[in-house]
Amino acid sequence: MSKKQFIKSLLFFSLLGIMLFILHFAIVLGAKNSQEGRVGKINQLMLHKIDKEIMIFGASEGETGIAAPILEEKLDKPTFNLSMDGSNIAQFGDLINEYNSYSTKGRYVVLALGIFSLHDRKLPKSPNWYYPWMQNDYISKNYLLNSTPEFRRYKNFPLYGFVVFNASLYRSSFDGWKTMFTSRNENTCYDGNGWMPYDLDWGQNNALQPLTMQKVFLNENVFAQYKNVVQNLNAKGRKVILVFMPSWKGARNYYDGYDELVMKFKSLKGNQNTFLDYSNAVFSESKDYFYNYTHLNKKGALLFTDILAADIEKMITADQQKTISMNNGKNN
């Protein structure tokens, strides 16, 4: 190879490398500023732009089933739903811990629980939602994310993002750049304050499998993570409202261990927290309010949130009265 050829090759690969580094950086920067979709929700939290009095965390049951705007309206307390479809505590637990580290206004954290909440996931859900925040302490050390070679390589090899980034992340990045240039209101993540309802009738999404007996997962390691998160929240003076979400009653008998699961979560209540079990909610017998066995549709979510708001209001009133009588006792 002649000197000229060597220099030419070097120039070719150098230019390519520089271009790819700039593009990679731009994609990540854009993705961090997106306000769309679930990436947008995570971004708002990681940028410390969400600090509401009531925060809702959980998986898809919470994401579709708790209408944050209704809760906000009924309780007159700023509310945001940061539940993430398909995640379990191993992933959204880090979001809770991050939120707990910076929030000054948060007083109540609603933990939406469901039949699969104590399932020990082996693989993370949609790790691309978290890729832009790989530098974050919680995210980079998350054991579930680190169980995938893709995430580990993404952490350690430059430009590996091009292999793992998908269309959804590129879209988020594009949206993020749009946001930066148009200076949208940074706190309008969603009209629904993070609530993502599915306006579907029963079985409409073609995901209904025939019902068969299945054992409910009761993994102790996963339960320990819930315990840890609740303790961390309590340590900062935040009250945890454990909400066992309603599911269609017709499927109840197929879940072996259901009652045990409910009792297990009830044990997290302690003295500081509240446990609300909606297993036997009045509407849980009707398919009109569900789109599958375990998830409320939009109609169900609106109805359920009304009920939840009323129960939370009673809880808040009772707490206030308790505080007043304690203060009166001290004065006397």
């Binding site: 030419k8 070719f12 390519l16 593009l23 390589r153 091009f162 999404n205 995901a207």
Partner: protein, 483 residues
């Protein structure tokens, strides 16, 4: 280790760099070690199978050359039996047992049990390559290789070890012994081919695979229109997947100074099935031509024998591709088409002379493509029942024939893809065939090489960026790995 994997991205430059840094006398050992490592990245213990056939064929070659008379034939037969035996055992034993159990209605304890083994990767390829060596030595076209390491490298050379091209000893062995210095022009040409191969595999084949896997899933049924789309997508997928692999193999070898044979020549522009098989998987079709078809007499022993030879070769080729009746039927259909073309040769020549050139070429290309696509249904389907169901659905018009969409959580889905990605698949297919047509008819490569550097580099950068931004970086293996 897949060519489109992160591991290969590290493996390839290291192996290449060390190759050129080493003195010539150590290079064979380095390549052999690298090839062993490459192969063992799949299932390590299977290298013993490879080693077994290498030892048999190495000694068989020497014995064939050193012996005269009938014994030469026996040594050849010994080598062929060993190779075919290994292939038959790992690839066809379960198929054979399944058919015995079905034929004699054996069930439960009375049924013969299956072998619980995984097929060694690339078995069909390196077995055929090994057989071509002993046959060529027997025919006197190739001197037996005395250097065991060089012979082993001939079988195991990593660029073409697991999915071809199936090489001939006359082409490869001397190249493995020659000294190759780093050649800038060859390296550039090689990188171009590798890039194009990666584009075909990652950008096109793996993207189309999402739709194909969705529609051909045994749990679901789709409309006739959906099956038509999926069949066309599969035709492009398998072409891009396999030719993409071949391109990467050829490019990887070329950087080392080794020239592998061309394996694809824009086959979907063929005007007949006969022509298609001169342009598709050329290394396999020439292997069957030279070692099965011609020894059977080819077209030289009268028409009935000629037609039989054609059908037999393609039935065998179908079986080579997989241990399933769908592959045999696929091969049979192609063989039947070749026989039909042989029978109607005069008629078709007459049509070619009568019709305007563009009309004849267009019609014949379209008909050939349509037929090939239909045969791909048998190739892709999991079993005969699914294949016939799909073919029946394609040819049965119904009110929802053109239904391609499905409502799922998150929105409307086009056969497993969002709308824009589904539309992009068509643009990718059009882009692919346009590029290939320009490459063939207008020598796109030379045209590009004559352009200023900034234009060439822009084209390369655009392809690389397209690949990185729009490629489907899944862990899809190359389709032909399963053969």
């Amino acid at each position: 280790m897949l060519f489109n994997s992160f591991e290969f991205l590290l493996f390839f430059p290291v192996v290449t760099l060390v190759f050129f840094l080493l003195p010539q006398k150590y290079r064979w050992f380095h390549l052999l070690a690298a090839s062993c490592y490459f192969y063992m990245a799949f299932i390590p213990v299977y290298i013993l199978i490879l080693f077994f056939t290498i030892v048999i064929d190495y000694f068989a070659g020497i014995l064939i050359e050193n012996t005269t008379g009938q014994r030469r034939k026996w040594y050849l037969i010994m080598s062929l039996v060993a190779n075919v035996g290994v292939l038959a055992y790992f690839k066809y034993y379960n198929f054979f047992i399944d058919n015995i159990n079905t034929a004699f209605n054996l069930q439960g304890d009375s049924a013969y049990s299956f072998l619980g083994i995984i097929l060694p990767i690339g078995l069909s390829f390196h077995t055929f390559q090994a057989m071509s060596y002993t046959i060529e030595v027997y025919r006197g076209n190739q001197k037996a290789e005395r250097h065991f390491g060089i012979y082993a490298l001939y079988v195991m050379f990593y660029p073409q070890l697991v999915a071809g091209p199936i090489e001939r000893p006359q082409n490869i062995i001397h190249q493995l012994k020659e000294k190759h210095s780093f050649n800038y022009g060859l390296a550039v040409s090689a990188m171009q081919i590798i890039l194009w191969g990666l584009v075909k595999k990652i950008l096109i084949a793996d993207r189309l695979a999402i739709v194909v896997n969705e529609v051909f899933s045994p749990d679901k049924t789709y409309s006739g229109g959906a099956y038509v789309v999926a069949t066309i997508f599969f035709a492009v997928q398998i072409y891009c997947d396999f030719s993409g692999y071949s391109d990467i193999a050829i490019g990887t070898a070329r950087i080392l100074g080794i020239d592998l044979m061309k394996n694809f020549d824009t086959p979907y522009f063929s005007r007949s099935v006969t022509e298609f098989w001169r342009r598709w998987h050329i290394s396999l079709s020439t292997w069957f031509r030279d070692y099965v078809y011609i020894p059977l007499g080819g077209s030289k022993k009268g028409k009935p024998r000629w037609y039989f030879n054609l059908l037999f070769v393609f039935l065998l080729s179908g079986l080579w591709h997989g241990a399933n009746w769908t592959f045999v039927i696929w091969g049979g259909l192609l063989g039947a088409a070749l026989v039909a073309e042989a029978m109607t040769r005069k008629f078709r020549r007459g049509m070619e002379e009568t019709l305007p050139g563009i009309a004849y070429n267009s019609l014949s290309r379209l008909m050939t493509l349509a037929f090939i696509c239909l045969t791909w249904v048998f190739f892709r389907a999991g079993n005969m029942a699914q294949a016939t169901d799909i073919i029946t659905t394609i040819f049965t018009f119904s009110p929802d024939y053109f239904k391609l969409t499905e409502t799922r959580l998150g929105g409307i889905n086009y056969l497993g893809l969002p709308q824009w990605q589904f539309a992009a698949c068509f643009f990718l297919i059009i882009g692919l065939f346009t590029a290939e047509w320009l490459y063939k008819e207008y020598d796109l490569k030379t045209w590009l090489e004559q352009k200023p550097t900034y234009i060439r580099w822009t084209a390369y950068y655009a392809l690389i960026l397209g690949l990185l931004l729009f490629g489907a970086f899944t862990t899809n293996e190359f389709i032909y790995f399963q053969f």
